[in-house]
Symmetry: C2
Subunit: 227 residues, 2 copies
DNA sequence: CAGTGTGAAGTTGTTCACAGCA
DNA sequence: TGCTGTGAACAACTTCACACTG
């Protein structure tokens, strides 16, 4: 009843939806929601409620409600959210409905794994070419993706307007590859090497250090034994 | 039911008196400190200060000081921390000085990448065997690690006292593999499949969803363009 | 009722401010 | 002065409480 006294404020809040900052943890949960919603749709579900999502993904129900609010979809009370609307809103929010082409440097096992990883298609990302300095790898193909000499990177990146660079080299090479990527016009670097990259302010760097997860596991294991 | 969301309570006895909980983000930073400290030691550095570590890893200086305090090492004022002491304290804290043997299920590209990943040696973890249901993979070897029929898992796990199970199967198979791992005595599951695993309370589950990182990158890229 | 939606409270993690030390 | 070390302020994220809806 109080809110009826302040209709302007409600208006403001609604229109300010896009301005309010979305916590990074929420962004990280979004792909899980999308994955689930897509499979629910495939099973013919037209609606899904926040509590149901919460139960299926082992997250807090109110957390889901909050996260849903960032996507802009509004749910029907007692029924939940339209799976179709949700899917599109999540894809739009995450940018998964746009094409994102990436170059990968370091065609070892990890690089090959990423190239082969089907999941990226779902996210609209396609690794269009791989690069290496190893003469034995240059000229080969991994799942239809050619491995080029690193020297070809510049020309190809400029020609194809590539914005994402993936580093799967050994850690010693990572910084010099990052430097080259910056010069060559890459906007975002996804780094899998256990190194800390120094790049200009405007370049986006996302580190994926597999180590960190291992540390958490071993730490929990040790704690369990002692405790 | 919400076990994977709750921050773990890593506890540490500092002065045989006070028990302080270590934030999980700190645990995740520890491997980076360790990695750096080891390379500094190789370069002959006997001491390193928190501000130096901070600069090299792009972390906040006081954050480093806080994190160091969890390891129990005390630094010399104006000089910093002994790299030798730090290395040992970090290895002890992380449990990287103990052996951790793991079985991996799903010998695809990602599985192969993990098997080949040298970094795990540093963490004291060794993947001792891989398993798959694909007859074409069974009997092959990846970097000296044999790929067995999944049916062999139980016997081998019991015989070798394996505590860590790694899942690198497609998402559809993940839950049933997790169920089997639980029955077979695995204590901790490291899951790379984009699925949410349901396991008993006492089993540690660590999810590594590569998607999440991709979401953050694409989201940041999108923001940059609009803003 | 069983759901959405949202401001407030609570919790966790980070950064600041400053004391102590060589 | 440049560092460690720590309690306190601050910011970020999560959870709670409750109004509202069909």
């Amino acid at each position: 009843m109080l809110h009826e006294l302040y209709p302007m404020e409600t208006e403001l809040l609604t229109s300010a939806k896009k301005i309010l900052p979305v916590p990074e943890p929420s962004v990280r949960r979004m792909p899980q929601y999308l994955h689930l919603v897509k499979s629910l749709r495939e099973q013919g579900e037209l609606y899904v409620s926040a509590p149901t999502i919460a139960r299926l993904l082992h997250v807090d129900p109110t957390q889901v409600v909050k996260d849903m609010s960032y996507t802009g979809v509004s749910g029907k009370t007692r029924i939940g959210f339209s799976t179709e609307e949700l899917q599109h809103a999540l894809e739009e929010f995450l940018g998964f409905n746009r094409r994102h082409e990436a170059f990968l440097v370091g065609a070892g096992y990890l690089g090959s794994a990423l190239i082969q990883y089907q999941g990226f298609r779902e996210a609209g990302m396609k690794i269009v070419a791989a690069f290496d300095t190893d003469k034995k790898k240059i000229g080969t193909e991994i799942q239809g993706v050619s491995v080029f000499d690193l020297e070809k990177f510049r020309d190809l990146a400029a020609r194809l307007h590539i914005t994402i660079g993936i580093i799967t080299t050994p850690s010693g090479a990572a910084q010099s590859i990052a430097d080259l990527m910056v010069v060559w016009g890459i906007k975002a670097i996804w780094n899998f090497a256990p190194a800390t990259l120094k790049v200009p302010e405007h370049i986006i760097v996302q580190d994926t250090h597999i180590y960190a997860n291992l540390a958490v596991i071993i730490n929990k294991l040790g704690k369990q034994k002692n405790g």
